[in-house]
Subunit: 207 residues, 2 copies
Amino acid sequence: MPRRMSPALRRDQLVRTALRLFADHPPELVSVEDLVEAAGVSRALFYRYFANIHELRMAALRVVVEEVTAAIAPPDEGPLLDQVRYALAAFLGSAQTYASAYVALLRTGSVIATNETNELVDSVREHVMRTVAQRLRLSGPPAPMLELTMRSWFAVVEVSSVEWLRTGELTRDQLESWLVDQLLAMLSTTARHDQGTATSLRAALSR
Amino acid sequence: MPRRMSPALRRDQLVRTALRLFADHPPELVSVEDLVEAAGVSRALFYRYFANIHELRMAALRVVVEEVTAAIAPPDEGPLLDQVRYALAAFLGSAQTYASAYVALLRTGSVIATNETNELVDSVREHVMRTVAQRLRLSGPPAPMLELTMRSWFAVVEVSSVEWLRTGELTRDQLESWLVDQLLAMLSTTARHDQGTATSLRAALSR
């Protein structure tokens, strides 16, 4: 490892090491000692870049959120359902890569769930909701019940992916096809309840 | 108001006053001043019962959770779907009664969402899950995918009821019938994916 790494690279190296550890260890259990040992650096060096382990954890979680957000952007063409499958597969892939960090971000009762992490998670939900609205190419904002259904499905994705990572009872393919079918079932249920949703979906699917 | 109220009654009066205020005001915005004015007591008296406003907030939120848990227990007989409707109606009624406290308990990013409140919310989810398992009268624990579907639906109930209380875009009847239909759609989707769920549901519904 080069001793003369630039500050930006060195900081990034520490964040990447934290992320690697977070794949298998809950972020709240990773200490400065674990970190410096895994990165092969001194404690003194660590404290030149971060005031404490919380600061590094937040930096690492922000990287997770940025990567998830970037990864799930589907190609802006092709059938809508293929775009959903693409984004969902990318999302579950990122969740699996950063498993412990992902579970820690979403699990209520997590030691590290704070207003700061909740805001990070909310920012992803808002980003996905804006992408959905844009890809549906509606002339106005989505019907309120359509938006409610999408947000409800996001909650289903979150709950079920955390259970998937924690219990290992499903394969990723099983979870993915179950989630797509749940979305279709939920949308068609809402379309039966709400004319606005039915109209929006018909317009989006007929293009 | 009697001046010689017993300590237990006086404490209860303060908690009830807080709950009344929480129907319209977010718990994090209710101050000791608001509270003592609404209860018609002195600040000194308040501090004889609670160390600070956070302690009163938590006491009030625990009462909400206890009342919700008690209210949603359906009669232990009759068709399962009627039991679901009963519990859901009671749940939404409680949510409406304590609207601001309910939203504060569930909203991520809420100023008062802490590990303490998250544990309270988790305890309700676990209680409801145990009730479901018991009412289905299965011979063993529910199939993992059936449990996942129920937990996913709880998340849909939480997300949609918070949106309902915040936006007022749906009537309670609309939300209730939408949620029951979403549960049926989600269960039948899971039954198509998972033999264990199909078997459990068939057994439960044939009784």
